[in-house]
């Protein structure tokens, strides 16, 4: 294992060096990708080895970070799982990036910086999963944030991109502050922040402190994971970043928030009262629903995907929250089911969201725009990208037999198990969660019909789209890998679930559920509530799909087919202006959920100067601005500015005033020292 670890370290560093040395050359780009692939491959192997053997890998450098008790690394099965997730997301993204970053050879962005930060980002992110004491964890965490910040502002020419970067850095730093607070309360300022000691200390803390730690951790990690309302940086930063980086940010990095939450709440604190789980569940539901609702209204392909990351994080948290609640009531196997559902969705999301971002990247690469209203007809011009994007869309819409369906099924089943919670009023939370989760997945399907249909089908809506071309092989290769991943994770669920059981074994007193939920190719849930086999379902679907045409052929029903214009109420010729737009597609849902969107509508009609019976033009505009952004963030910014303005008064420029300050302070302090 040590060899694998060193291999990972060295590969990433070589990748970074290659970026510095290689500069803008194609060779440089390939070497950067090679380093990243090798590094994340080694990391994946390391994680797999730890999970397979069940033996944690530990390594520590006492002479580094002496103030934090040394640089302590320890990879247990939970960390290993997330290291695997990093690998799953990073390898295709790196391959894809080798081709994609060619777009920056025109000097819009600094390729060396991109390469260096790309590798360092992957390195620090991998090390987050290995950190075993507070300072190491915080160092790697902040390193991950910083490097990803530089990746986000790759195209720093653009004002919008810089804003996004600042938002991102501010939010993530806010998160770090909260985490620092949480860890400090946990350690009580003790010098050794070693996680083993924390587990010991956590038991002796007062309930109040534990709750505070939990809340700080939830907010801190939540700001990274992108829970509503701390998600504001996602829809800004993810579109701004280069697409293969967006894939990593959205597919992998935000999962580190989930990792941290599990690590602190479940591992270090060892679980807590029911409302902890309930809060996570509630946050999850809200994030899932609002995420998908705002995604529906987006016509910027990458922003749409970013909002879907919010949604999927919500789904993951629903599983984890349910797990925590069951954990509280000692329903261990149900708890395990919830956590397994959450973790399964983590890796699934890593697969299909990365795939979708890469697909969006190819579209951007080919058309130069992220605006769906200018696309269309790409399925003919970039067939491969279209197929891969379709796979991703089916997977994220949780449609069988792909992977999204399996994890959502598991989460559903764990929620259904809520019946067993002894307290009815607590149990009553579950059906609501079930309903909203179902609504979320339904809306997701609707949203991806829009995303795929408007982007790839029908006629091109702009010249850019009409002249689009398929992307180079390296990009297609990256997408192909992820597409296979989506299928494999769906079909081979019976093999994945036991691994997740092993990952969770012993965490916060969870039992080893390796064999519990699977029976050869079947998944089944405790107390025999439900049973399913995605494998056989996929097989059946494929069989039927193969059978049908042959049956038709058997009955000689394969008549010839004739191409013609679509029926248009008598009009001849078909133009793109007649197609349904993304806005139009989303309009019904916008009306249905108007109370949540609070759309701003403006109708201006100007009449003919002579008489108001002749209308010259009618302009209708409707905007949707996330109202809770204003409600939550503006007060902070405004109060900060207000205080700042007061402070400026202090430095008013008058020397006498300044001297007066001194005199006043002196006298006040003297009086204080004399009489108090």
């Amino acid at each position: 294992m040590r060899a694998l670890f060193l291999a990972m370290l060295i590969a990433y560093s070589l990748g970074a060096l290659a970026a510095l040395a290689g500069g803008r050359s194609a060779l440089g780009r390939r070497l950067v990708a090679l380093g990243a692939v090798a590094g994340s491959g080694a990391g994946l192997a390391l994680g797999a080895a730890v999970i397979a053997t069940g033996v944690p890998f530990a390594l520590s450098f006492p002479w580094l970070l002496p103030l934090g008790g040394g640089l302590a690394l320890r990879l247990d099965s939970l960390g290993a799982f997330f290291l695997v997730v990093v690998g799953v997301g990073a390898i295709p993204a790196a391959v894809y990036g080798a081709g994609y970053s060619a777009a920056y050879e025109d000097g819009r962005a600094s390729l060396p910086l991109l390469g260096v930060m790309f590798n360092l980002f992957l390195l620090t992110m991998s090390l987050v999963t290995l950190a075993d004491n507070v300072l190491t964890f915080l160092l790697m965490w902040e390193g991950m944030s910083l490097t990803s910040y530089f990746l986000v502002i790759t195209e720093s020419e653009d004002e919008e991109v810089r804003d996004a970067g600042l938002w991102y850095l501010a939010m993530t730093h806010m998160g770090l502050v909260l985490l620092l607070g949480a860890f400090m309360l946990l350690t009580g300022g003790a010098v050794s922040g070693h996680f083993e000691d924390l587990r010991g200390r956590a038991v002796s803390l007062t309930p109040g402190t534990r709750d505070l730690v939990y809340l700080l951790a939830l907010l801190g990690f939540g700001s990274k994971a992108g829970i509503v309302p701390l998600h504001v940086w996602l829809p800004r930063a993810h579109p701004a970043a280069p697409s293969h980086v967006s894939a990593l940010l959205s597919g992998v990095m935000i999962k580190m928030g989930v990792y941290g939450l599990l690590r602190v709440v479940l591992d270090l604190l060892g679980g807590g009262p029911a409302w902890w789980g309930g809060l996570v569940l509630g946050v999850g539901v809200v994030s899932a629903l609002l995420g998908v609702l705002y995604a529906l209204m987006e016509h910027d392909l990458k922003r749409l995907l970013a909002f879907h990351s919010v949604e999927n994080i919500g789904i993951i948290l629903i599983g984890i929250g349910a797990g925590l609640m069951f954990h509280r009531y000692g329903l261990m196997s149900l708890a395990a089911l919830g956590f397994i559902g959450g973790l399964y969705h983590v890796i699934n999301h890593a697969a299909f969201k990365s795939l979708l971002f890469l697909g969006a990247g190819s579209v951007l690469y080919a058309t130069g725009t992220r605006n769906m209203e200018e696309m269309g007809g790409l399925i003919k011009r970039m067939p491969w990208t279209a197929i891969f994007f379709l796979i991703g869309a089916v997977a994220i819409s949780a449609l069988p037999p792909l992977n999204g369906f399996v994890s959502e099924w598991l989460i559903f089943q764990s929620l259904l198990g809520g019946v067993q919670i002894p307290v009815p009023e607590v149990a009553a939370v579950m059906p609501v969660a079930v309903g909203l989760l179902a609504l979320t997945s339904g809306l997701t399907a609707a949203c991806f019909v829009k995303a795929f249909g408007i982007t790839f089908l029908a006629l091109p809506r702009s010249l850019k789209a009409a002249e689009a071309h398929e992307s180079p092989w390296s990009m297609r290769l990256g997408m192909a890998g992820l597409g296979l991943g989506c299928i494999g994770l769906g079909v081979a669920a019976f093999a994945v679930v036991p691994v997740l059981g092993r990952v969770l074994a012993g965490l916060g007193g969870l039992p080893d559920t390796r064999a519990e939920f699977t029976l050869n190719v079947f998944l089944h849930t405790p107390s025999g509530l439900g049973q399913m086999s995605p494998t056989l379902m996929a097989l059946g679907l494929v069989l039927l799909l193969g059978l049908l045409p042959s049956v038709l052929w058997l009955f000689r029903l394969q008549r010839r087919r004739r191409l013609s214009d679509p029926w248009g109420c008598g009009r001849v010729g078909q133009t793109a202006r007649m197609e349904y737009t993304a806005t139009a597609f989303a309009e019904p849902l916008k009306r249905v959920f108007a109370d949540i969107y609070r759309p701003m509508k403006k109708l201006t009609v100007d009449f003919h100067p002579r008489s108001k019976y002749f209308v010259q033009s009618i302009e209708y505009r409707s905007e949707i601005t996330p109202w809770f952004d204003q409600a939550l963030y503006r007060p902070f910014l405004e109060s900060a500015t207000f205080v700042a303005k007061q402070m400026r008064r202090l430095q008013a420029g008058s020397l006498h005033l300044y001297l007066l300050y001194i005199a006043v302070v002196l006298i006040v302090l003297l009086v204080f020292a004399r009489w108090f």
Binding site: L67, L166, L169, A170, H173, T641, V643, A644, L655, I662
Partner: protein, 486 residues
């Protein structure tokens, strides 16, 4: 002996600059080399002390004395002095000043350096006071090098505020001495720090309380502690960049050093609570003022100045937090010195290229001066406390000390304020670094990138401190902790 090697070169430099008229570049270079000599001496001193040589003294009546605390400060001062002299105007390259101005610059800057070195090595707290006062006078002579209204105004405010403040510090000194006399009769060496310290437990608490108030307000004025900080943004923004680098990098540190010295004595009389409370109060207030003055800042040199206030506030808080805090505070001091001196010197280059200190006039620095821009970014990342730089570690240690001292509320406030400052600083420097370069500006770094080598050294130092704690430094810091919290 090494005391001479330490203190003599700057005097010699001043003398040289005084006799050689008109000014020649050779003088500047000679003085730069001389500063290297005293830097070497400083390192030797620090090495010998960290190697266990206990508090060497020198001169009639043990005029000079150096323990771990002095050694650390001596190294900082000498290093920044060397850096500043190396980047002084008039060492080749076109400079905005004429020879008489440059001559004045060389004379007084060297005297300034000398007085700072004297302040941190003086055994007699009276002499220490004199040296600190002298720093004001000498540096004030350099600020209005080019006579502009702004620079004259800044220097007048600077000298008046600091003189008044420092005079108050002298009141405190006199009070302490008075109490000593009341206890043990008049003695010539009564103001020698060790003597004072040994007598301290018997002094009158109520008198020492008053004395410490005078001392904190007085030296606090020089240390840029709010609300006595008002001179600082003006002076730092108007002074020639090397001087700003020295003032922000080490002058504040010297003043804090004086406060620390007196804190030890007062604590010996009163116990630590009184001084701790006072320092925490003032430190937090400085942090508050500095951070929120950063939010709407329009001038990047003032921005850096306010960040210096922020950091001396942090160091004050650290000093008030017991042993762990003191350790963190002085580690923080070292890191801040390394980062801020570099930043001010770079800001000088930016000013020279963009001809403006306004933030909105500066954009696309990365493209205009790639190396300078990269270094500037590094410095900013360092002072906002991002890894892998030393301030991340020192701030972490400081926060941890606060929690260990059982002050979570205070630390929460500090964390929030730090976060605000973080956003403000990063936001402003984002505007500076990226975006389109203003038209008509010459692209490319200043000729002679080899002169940037010292900056790489400071970046290296910062990065090293972010990952490891070199043994000598650790020994020094431990000695300091022992000295301060004995």
């Amino acid at each position: 002996m090494d005391f001479l090697a330490l203190l003599f070169p700057p005097l010699l430099g001043a003398l040289l600059a005084f006799v050689v008229r008109p000014y020649r570049a050779a003088v500047g270079w000679t003085n730069a080399c001389l500063s290297m000599v005293s830097l070497g001496a400083a390192f030797l001193l620090a090495a010998s002390i960290s190697a266990g040589r206990h508090a060497p003294t020198f001169g009639p009546g043990e005029l000079l004395r150096a323990d771990g605390l002095s050694a650390l400060l001596v190294v900082c001062v000498a290093a920044v002095a060397a850096l500043a002299l190396f980047y002084s105007p008039g060492l080749g390259g076109e400079s905005p000043y004429d020879t008489t101005q440059l001559r004045r610059y060389q004379i007084f800057v060297n005297l300034f350096i000398f007085s700072m070195l004297l302040a941190v090595t003086a055994n007699n707290v009276g002499v220490m006071w004199i040296a600190v006062e002298a720093t004001t006078i000498f540096s004030a002579m350099v600020i209005p090098l080019a006579l502009t209204k702004a620079s004259v105004e800044a220097s007048w405010k600077y000298i008046l505020i600091c003189s008044v403040g420092i005079t108050l510090a002298f009141v405190g000194t006199v009070l302490a001495y008075f109490d000593f006399v009341a206890l043990a009769g008049r003695r010539e060496n009564a103001l020698n720090w060790p003597v004072l310290l040994s007598a301290a437990p018997g002094l009158h608490p109520e008198v020492m309380r008053l004395a410490f108030v005078f001392l904190v307000v007085g030296f606090g004025t020089k240390a840029g502690i709010a609300p006595m900080h008002t001179w600082l943004p003006d002076a730092h923004s108007e002074a020639p960049s090397p001087l700003s680098a020295m003032m922000s990098g080490v002058l504040l540190a010297v003043a804090l050093y004086a406060i620390t010295r007196w804190k030890v004595v007062v604590d010996a009389t009163l116990g630590p609570d009184f001084s701790n409370e006072l320092l925490l109060l003032l430190g937090l207030f400085s942090l508050l003022v500095a951070v929120f003055s950063l939010v709407l800042q329009r001038n990047y040199k003032r921005m850096l100045a306010y960040s210096s206030i922020e950091h001396s506030g942090l160091i004050c808080i650290g000093l008030g937090l017991g042993p762990l805090g003191v350790f963190a505070a002085f580690l923080h001091l070292v890191c801040h010195t390394a980062a801020k001196s570099m930043l001010f010197l770079l800001a000088g280059e930016v000013l020279h290229r963009y001809r403006s200190t306004e933030l909105e006039r500066v954009s696309g620095l990365i493209k205009v001066m790639p190396l300078t821009g990269a270094l500037f970014m590094g410095g900013i990342l360092a002072i906002v406390g991002l890894p892998p730089f030393g301030l991340f570690i020192s701030e972490f240690a400081l926060i941890r000390a606060g929690f260990a001292a059982g002050r979570p509320g205070l630390m929460a406030a500090v964390l929030v304020l730090l976060a605000v400052g973080f956003v403000a600083l990063v936001g402003h420097s984002n505007k500076m670094l990226y975006g389109a370069a203003p038209e008509g500006i010459t692209l490319g770094d200043v000729p002679g990138n080899w002169r940037k080598a010292p900056f790489l050294v400071s970046v290296l130092v910062l990065a090293t401190l972010g990952l490891v704690l070199p043994a000598p430094l650790e020994v020094l810091l431990d000695q300091i902790v022992i000295v301060v919290t004995q």
